[in-house]
């Protein structure tokens, strides 16, 4: 038994090291269509692809194979790298990998004037070391099928060397079925707002772009209208690029759909090796006119809004046709809209607090009300006034980073006043009163009555009052140090949110641009850091001031 098993193993090992199970499979299609359409007829003077696919298996060494294509009379192969065109066809030498090899190619065959109408045959044969496979392909030739054979087209002299397919027009945006919606502006693509995603990407590092979202939802569809007077069948490469209108350089923004692989895991790999362009393969299937609906994929993380030129390149068989159309990319201001919507909600909620304001005044009494008024005066004189007068100077010197300096006032000083006042008068509405007075002082003294001012004040009031109310600040009997540390942090986080909403509002209403890292820096430094520090100092100051109140 053991001997039998030993011999079996030995035989299997010998066979696997030899050509005993070797085989070759040849597939050839003419005329070949990318869309796998079964085309049997070749039109007059057209160019058609011959598809050759050779699969070799179980040969444990690299081998050379001679591929030869024998064409019927009146047909010739177009020159192609790796192929030698002969009188009656073309030959090529392929190197087949060991064990398993798959080699394939497209060879374009052109019908000459001498081609015989009717049934014709192409013979494809591949010869290797001790083996040969052959395939015969039957097809019909219709000499009158092409435009060139028609007398009315004689005025248009067609240069056969150029194959004569061309781009008639490029239209975008269209729907997935290629229909143009007249209500939408021509040549404008709206891409979604990815500020938050971009912010997250920066925090997580590169590669966090949600490629499945990008490739499942193309930014737009493009209608490519092709003309093919010779009724060629060809596989062409489509390429769309964004060009900077001033420099003419290729701009970042478009991407090519990647494929799922094991390394990238589920979804899309994203990295296709083709930068800043959307590519696709299209197939001319022998019609005079053919329209293609192609998706344009946009890397939302990289694309910038603005005026571009969209360059569409269609290439194949050593030739390329280019058409350029103007394109505008506009970003949807979703986050800005959300910020404004949030501010409007705060504005409506503020009315509830304003109705409570009068009750609050009577609760804290005349002394409390006058204290709030004087604190508002300090807030205005010590924060708003210097920010207005000196803020512009600092702004001119430091540009967008001026806020880090003025934030010392609007962050630390502001929250110092707020928390020290709240330590003295812990009532819901005191904060509202302070902010309303400050806003009115700015309005009366500087004429700062604007919708943004109203909305910004509303956000301050509602967010801060809500956070203090939720944290139980107004109901706590004693304000312990640990708890106040938590409140200071909470107010800092609240101010980070307020900073974000107000900056987004500014960007939305004043059409300004700020980078996502800049927003993050402002939120962390101006919002969280300065305000937390100010709140903590305010708590300590408030405790000291209690002694004055108790005098």
């Amino acid at each position: 038994m053991k001997k039998v098993f030993f011999w079996l193993v030995a035989v299997v090992m010998l066979l696997t090291g030899s050509d005993a199970f070797a085989g070759q499979q040849l597939d050839a299609v003419f005329p070949y269509s990318l869309e796998k359409r079964n085309i049997q007829t070749v039109s007059g003077h057209s160019t058609m692809p011959l598809y050759i696919n050779l699969t070799s298996f179980d040969v444990p060494r690299i081998q050379q194979a001679e591929v030869s294509v024998r064409l019927p009379e009146g047909f010739s192969a177009l020159p192609k790298e790796g192929w030698q065109v002969t009188k009656d066809g073309a030959v090529a030498s392929w190197s087949l990998d060991a064990d398993y090899a798959q080699n394939f190619d497209l060879l374009y065959i052109q019908a000459e004037e001498t081609a015989v109408p009717g049934s014709n045959e192409i013979v494809v044969s591949v010869k290797g070391d001790g083996w040969e496979v052959q395939k015969k392909l039957q097809f019909q030739y219709d000499a009158a099928g092409g435009n060139v054979a028609q007398p009315q087209e004689k005025t248009k002299k067609i240069d056969r060397k150029k194959f004569n397919w061309y781009i008639q027009s490029v239209t975008l945006p269209v729907d997935p079925f290629g229909h143009r919606d007249d209500r939408t502006e021509n040549g404008v693509i709206y891409v979604r707002d990815t500020t938050l995603e971009g912010f997250r990407n920066r925090m997580k590092g590169e590669g966090a772009t949600n490629w499945s979202a990008v490739f499942n939802h193309p930014a737009a569809f493009l209608l490519l209208d092709m003309r093919n007077p010779q009724k060629d069948i060809r596989v062409l490469k489509f390429k769309a690029q964004l060009l900077d209108r001033v420099t003419g350089n290729v701009a970042e923004g478009l991407v090519t759909a990647g494929k799922t692989n094991h390394e990238a895991g589920e979804g899309w790999a994203g990295n296709t090796g083709e930068e800043s362009e959307t590519t696709a393969l299209i197939s001319l299937d022998g019609k005079k006119t053919q329209a293609f609906v192609l998706p344009l994929y946009v890397d939302y993380f990289k694309v910038l809004e603005g005026e571009y030129t969209l360059r569409v390149t269609v290439a194949g068989g050593g030739q390329q046709k280019i058409q350029e159309v103007p394109l505008t990319i506009a970003k949807k201001q979703s986050l800005g809209l959300m910020a404004v919507a949030f501010a409007f909600v705060c504005f409506l909620l503020m009315f509830i607090l304003l109705f409570r304001m009068k009750k609050c005044i009577f609760e804290i009494g005349a002394k409390g009300a006058i204290t709030v008024a004087l604190f508002a005066a300090i807030s205005f004189g010590g924060i708003a006034l210097p920010s207005t007068v000196l803020g512009d100077l600092v702004h001119a010197l430091l540009g967008p980073f001026s806020g880090l300096v003025t934030g010392l006032l609007s962050g630390i000083m502001q929250y110092l006043l707020i928390v020290s006042l709240l330590v003295l008068y812990r009532k819901l509405g005191v904060l509202t009163l302070l902010y309303v007075l400050k806003f009115m002082l700015s309005g009366i003294m500087f004429g700062h009555f604007s919708p943004i001012g109203v909305l910004s004040t509303s956000v301050y009031i509602v967010v801060t009052e809500s956070l203090l109310w939720i944290s139980g600040f107004y109901t706590k009997e004693i304000l312990k140090t640990n708890y106040m540390f938590f409140v200071a942090l909470l107010l800092g986080m609240g101010d980070a949110l307020i900073t974000f909403v107000n900056l987004e509002q500014m960007m939305f209403f004043y059409r300004l641009y700020y980078a996502d890292w800049f927003l993050a820096m402002y939120m962390i430094v101006n919002g969280l850091l300065y305000s937390s520090i100010g709140s903590w100092i305010g708590y300590k100051t408030g405790i000291k001031l209690r002694q004055v109140v108790g005098e």
């Binding site: 209108r245 809004e305 005026e307 540009g399 919708p451 641009y513």
Partner: protein
Amino acid sequence: MSMRQLWEGTEARNWARDINGQTKLIILFLYAVLMITIDNPRSLFILFMLTLVFHGAAGTSFYKWKVMAVLLMLGLWGSMVSQALFFSQIPRTPLFVLVSPDTPFLGAVTGGLFVYREGILYGAVQGLRAATMLSLGLLVCWTSDPRQLLNALLSWRLPPQVAFMLVTAIRFLPVLAAETGEIITALQLRSDSQRGRTAVLQHIPYIAKPLLARCLRRAQTLALSVVSRGFFAAKGSVARQSWKKSEKAGCVAFCLFTLAVVGSKICYVLSEQGLYFGLLRKVYDISKMYL
């Protein structure tokens, strides 16, 4: 000219001062709405120039023109600087590099920081919005007494207690400023270094506590005085400036105009998103060309 005189509205021509506070505040607010609605640079510039014409007509003094010019220039410059750095549109041409994308940490975080030529121009155009509001705000400020604007707020049912608090805040602003000066002097005198006796900035962190303590003491005194006279609980009765019919009509007309501008702009933006009505084609055209 002192800081106080700078913010007073006593030098303006009579017609500007006589305009009701309500009219001024309504126009100021509606103008702000227009400034955030309009995108067309030419229209923005016209609206900005209009505010300067108003200043000329109101008789703004030369000194105040100079102050305003400085503030406007600084504001516009700030806007240009910020947008030159963050301009995020194509085409954009980097003039020079502040932080290279290859710089360790900063380059990775910021993706590089460049000064873009197109951003400078964009910042100047967008800065017109803030500049216009600053100019108009200063006009209202320089042609109005604070009481006039306070009366306007009272006309809009501002609670008398809040009005009292507002007046208290305004009245005590100069007093608080003087007290801040005194505290700084005291801190300078207490300083044990020669530099500390002249410096101001280094004493600023120590101003808050004594200043707030004085506020609390003042509030105690004032509250006693106010409550003893029954002033705080009483309903306020303020002599209000009459609001002329012509001014009311002007405000209504301007309000309707602003609503029309905002409405047509919203229609145009909606049409870009696919909500298109053929009937409004002329409105879309006007919005595209002028707004």
